[in-house]
């Protein structure tokens, strides 16, 4: 029973174990099934991948094969046993193989070199080289092979390895006969030209891109005294070039690398250390691939030319310096040359006054005319040299162009009254504004041209036409001046000549009409100085027109048809008395006119003593005291008056000093004067001073009647304008006074000079000097001042005589101008329409 139970348990365990085992087995089987399934899938995808790869590989191979087949070179691919794997048609063609390339597959190539060697110019070398290449198994590209028939092949050998395993090799052959021939031809022609150049005294040198000498040609070496071997491999700049020229070469090197050629000049150091100047034509050397590999320079020895050029340059510089010095000299000579000439002319004048015989008079007249002509000539030469030395400059100032032209025309008209010539001025009505430019130069230019017109015109008409060339509002405004005449004319072939210095139409003209031949040259230069131009149109026997174009700036200021007005001043001065101490008649006249106009009662003393004596007698409300006077000067008189009891010791005294020098002013105050006024003073200045010291200062102004008058430009018009304004009556009186008094006084200078009475000369000069300023002869006033100083401080007979000649000369000219102005003024104020100002 026990045993049965045991057995039963055992069986139960066995059965349970079997079932368990079966369950596990089933589980495992299932797992296995899935694993299998997975494996199958994996396998499937692997197969597909392999198929794809294989397809790609075949396609790739086919592409390569087709590439090789169609390559423009012959290709032969051999395996490691030298069996043909692939060949293309080109290969068969190159080596005359009469089969299809596909047929060659598998052919043994071990004997191919031997078979084909006859095709090559050097068969043995061909075979040797093939063996060598196969032995070395190294890539060798682009070997050139000469064929027996003259063709040239280019060969590349490519060994094929996979890792370290040698799998075979590839031959590539191409026929480069044309290329090589073209290259050869090019090289030949280059050689030819190089040889030509070498034979032409031109030295060639080739350098690489670093500037290292690659090829020094024999001629180049010979030029410098080097052997080619001494130069080859050297840096060209280091051995040949002075360091200071390095930047030139560096720039050239940059240009070469950019492929540009260039010509330049540098000195080159020869072997013996001397310099050779070379003109170098440099060009880049460009290889067949278009890359710059270096440059070639063609050297031409220009040492001689350089030396010559330098010498020329130096002599040119010397010549220019000499010319400059000459110009400076001439420009500075003005005074020195004119002075003795003035002496000659002056002496001639004096001699005429010594009652010479008729014959002597004729000689003197010739002497005087010649001297005057010489002076004109010298003036012209000096003007010209001044222009050329750049000493003459165009000044810009505002002026009335219309008035200038009209005045000029008028003055010509006056001169031409004796001739049957009409003078006209035609002015563009568009010129309504003051312009900015140089009026003096314009005046001189037009005067010169009008002078010519006058000279060469016996009858008919001369004149000025003025026309605006530019559009309105255009800047600058170009004005054309045409100075025309109906004179003898200029032959066409001389039109250019007349503007040249010292040229006249012909010698005959010079004899007949005189002149220096400089006038038009100066005129042209003056025109050009202002940026303008001049040209001439002329017909022989009919007339001449000079056209001048000049630029002016429009100031926008409307030109007054009349000269500027001066304020009319009125002073309430009832019962006031002024004493004026003045020894100069002109100054007395000037002050007299002004004070009368202002209705101020006044009295004159002719020197200091008289003033003092008058102050003893009467009371004055103001004293105007000249400083330098005979008998008793202003300082002394002032002190004397101040010392007087009663009457005038408190009277204000105003010094009238010749200059505003501080020393004089201080002296005046020290002497007890209250104020000073420097001469020449303007009416307004005097008026203000009087107002200051006389206790009534109501000033009334009214507009005076406008008068149309322009003073001669040779006078100090600015000064005259200030002094007289539009008060022409006053001006007329002053000019009249000058004519009445001054020439008489001037005549007494000569005897004093002859008697060597220097202090008297100085005093006389001092006295008459201001009179000249009053009529606008400022230049003469200055000359007299110089002479006065000279007579006072360092009297020298010869010097003073020379100075006087000059003064005399200025005086002669000046008095003529004054006479003329006097006539003009007289004409105007005697006109019934003229109303003198109150």
């Amino acid at each position: 029973m026990e045993a049965l139970e045991l057995l039963k348990r055992r069986v139960e365990r066995e059965v349970a174990a079997r079932k368990l085992a079966e369950a596990i087995m089933e589980q495992k089987a299932l797992e296995l099934y899935y694993a299998n399934q997975e494996l199958r899938n994996l396998n499937g995808s692997l197969e597909q991948t392999v198929a794809e790869r294989t397809h790609d590989y075949i396609a790739e191979q086919s592409r390569l094969r087709s590439l090789i087949t169609n390559l423009d070179s012959g290709v032969l691919l051999e395996d490691e046993h030298r069996k043909v794997m692939l060949a293309n048609q080109m290969f068969c063609d190159l080596f005359n193989i009469p089969v299809e390339p596909e047929m060659m597959r598998g052919l043994d190539c071990t004997q191919s070199a031997e078979v084909n060697k006859h095709l090559f110019a050097d068969p043995a070398q061909f075979v040797r080289r093939i063996d060598e290449l196969l032995e070395n198994r190294q890539l060798v590209t682009d070997e050139e092979l000469d064929l027996a028939d003259g063709r040239v092949f280019r060969r590349t050998y490519v060994p094929i390895f996979e890792g370290n395993d040698y799998l075979g090799h590839l031959w590539r052959y191409s026929d480069v006969t044309d290329e090589v021939q073209a290259h050869e031809t090019l090289r030949h022609s280059e050689d030819k030209y190089r040889r030509i150049i070498e034979n032409m005294e031109l030295g060639l040198m080739e350098v690489d891109n670093d500037g290292r000498i690659v090829l020094p040609y024999p001629r180049f070496c010979a030029m410098l005294g080097y052997d080619p071997e001494e130069l080859r491999g050297q840096m060209a700049t280091e051995i040949l070039l002075p360091p200071e020229y390095l930047p030139v070469l560096q720039q050239q090197a940059v240009d070469r690398l950019a492929g540009n050629a260039g010509v330049y000049e540098v000195p080159i150091i020869k072997k013996d250390g001397n310099l050779m100047w070379a003109m170098i034509s440099g060009a880049p050397i460009i290889n067949i691939h278009g890359t710059v590999t270096g440059s070639i320079g063609i050297h031409y020895d220009i040492t001689q030319q350089k030396t010559l050029y330098r010498e020329l340059e130096e002599s040119k510089k010397r010549a220019e310096e000499a010319q400059e010095a000459e110009k400076q000299f001439l420009a500075n000579m003005s005074h020195e040359i004119r002075t003795p000439l003035n002496a000659i002319i002056g002496m001639a004048h004096l001699l005429i006054d010594t009652d010479p015989s008729e014959e002597q008079k004729e000689y003197l007249s010739i002497l005087k005319n010649s001297a005057e002509m010489l002076r004109t000539l010298i003036s012209d030469v000096l003007d010209l040299s001044k222009i050329r030395a750049g000493k003459m400059e165009a000044q810009e100032k505002e002026f009335d162009l219309v008035a200038l032209v009209q005045t000029l025309a008028k003055s010509v008209q006056l001169r031409m009254e004796s001739k049957s010539v009409e003078v006209k001025a035609d002015i563009d009505p568009g010129i309504t504004h003051l312009v900015l430019g140089d009026d003096l130069l314009l005046n001189q230019i037009l005067l010169n041209l009008l002078g010519n017109a006058e000279k060469f015109t016996a009858e008919g008409e001369i004149g000025i036409r003025t026309k605006i060339l530019s559009e309105p509002h255009e800047t600058p405004m170009w004005v054309e001046f045409c100075v025309y005449d109906t004179g003898i004319g200029i032959p066409p072939e001389k039109h250019d000549l007349i503007f040249q210095t010292f040229r006249q139409v012909d010698g005959d003209t010079r004899r007949k009409f005189g002149g220096t031949g400089l006038g038009l040259a100066i005129t042209k230069q003056l025109v050009e100085l202002q940026g303008g131009s001049i040209r001439v149109e002329s017909t022989l026997g009919v007339g001449t027109q000079f056209y001048i174009n000049l630029p002016y700036l429009n100031t926008g200021v409307v030109a007054e048809q009349n000269t500027p007005i001066m304020e009319q001043m009125q002073l309430n001065s009832d019962g006031k008395r002024i004493l004026v101490a003045e020894d100069n008649a002109m100054n007395r006249k000037y002050i007299d006119t002004l004070l009368r106009k202002w209705n101020i009662e006044h009295f004159f003393a002719h020197n200091g003593r008289e003033a003092y004596e008058m102050c003893l007698e009467d009371h004055y409300d103001l004293v105007l005291m000249d400083i330098q006077m005979p008998e008793m000067d202003g300082y002394e008189a002032c002190q004397a008056i101040r010392d007087l009891p009663g009457l005038n010791n408190k009277t204000p005294i105003i010094a009238l000093t010749a200059s505003a020098m501080l020393s004089q002013r201080d002296k005046a105050f020290f002497a007890g004067m209250n104020d000073y006024l420097s001469k020449p003073f303007k009416p307004l200045q005097l008026f203000e001073k009087i107002c200051l010291y006389i206790d009534s200062n109501e000033i009334e102004t009214n507009m005076p009647t406008p008068q149309e008058f322009t003073f001669d430009k040779r006078l100090d018009t600015e000064l005259l304008e200030t002094m007289y304004g539009d008060d022409l009556d006053y001006a007329f009186e002053m000019f009249e006074a000058f004519r009445d008094n001054v020439p008489k006084e001037f005549k007494s200078i000569q005897p004093l000079l002859d008697g060597e009475k220097w202090p008297e000369v100085a005093r006389l000069l001092h006295k008459i000097k201001p009179s000249f300023g009053m009529v606008g002869l400022s230049e003469l006033e200055k000359a007299l001042e110089q002479m006065e100083q000279s007579a006072k401080n360092q009297p020298n007979k010869a010097n003073l005589h020379t100075m006087f000649m000059q003064v005399q000369n200025l005086f002669d000219v000046g008095t003529r101008i004054i006479d003329n102005e006097y006539s003009k003024l007289k004409k105007i104020i005697s006109n019934p329409t003229h109303t003198p100002p109150q």
Binding site: L6, R9, R10, R13, A16, A17, R18, L20, A21, I24, M25, K28
Partner: protein
């Protein structure tokens, strides 16, 4: 633990002591598997410990001796079942030295869930092999039985010295000297 260890153990018990002993130790032990084992199954390690302990109680043979005996008995079974591990192996040392880096690697491939002891081998001299056993199962006796049986298989005579490196027997040094 692989099923073969259990089935072969119970086969050995039945051969030596009869199925009654087998039935007795299964019945006495508290086995999750209820003593139903197949070669291809995997079972708790504690079950073999319980079975061996029960056997020891009934036979009065100490557990280490039982395990050593079982090891000696088990080697030829492994040798038959997995003869390819012995192919080309010429000595016991060679076999032992191949356990860690060859046999166990292959076992893991077949039974990814197998928990195997780890060995550190060192040849102290050509005929002395030091082998250190590491296992939480503490079955160095079973291992020694296998070793001895292996050397018998190759007809080799060895002396095996044992030294516990850890008191609980989880680390044991075997020093094997060929005689």
């Amino acid at each position: 633990m692989k099923g073969i260890v259990f089935t072969e153990f119970l086969n050995l018990v039945e051969a030596k002591f009869g199925y009654e002993m087998v039935d007795q130790i299964i019945t006495e032990s508290n086995l999750p598997s209820k003593g139903i084992y197949t070669n291809i199954g995997t079972y708790e390690h504690s079950e073999i410990v319980q079975l061996v302990t029960a056997l020891s109680k009934h036979t009065n043979i100490p557990v280490p001796d039982l395990l050593k005996i079982y090891g000696i008995h088990f080697f030829p079974i492994l040798g038959n079942g997995y003869s390819h591990f012995l192919t080309g192996v010429k000595s016991g040392f060679e076999l032992l030295e191949s356990i860690e880096h060859y046999i166990h690697v292959e076992v893991i491939k077949l039974y990814p869930d197998a928990e195997l002891p780890r060995f550190e081998n060192r040849r102290l001299s050509p005929n002395v092999l030091e082998m250190i056993y590491h296992s939480k199962r503490k079955m160095a006796d079973f291992a020694e039985g296998l070793m001895r049986s292996a050397f018998d298989h190759f007809g080799e005579k060895v002396e095996i010295e044992r030294e516990n490196l850890e008191a609980d027997g989880s680390s044991v040094r075997f020093t094997i000297t060929q005689i």
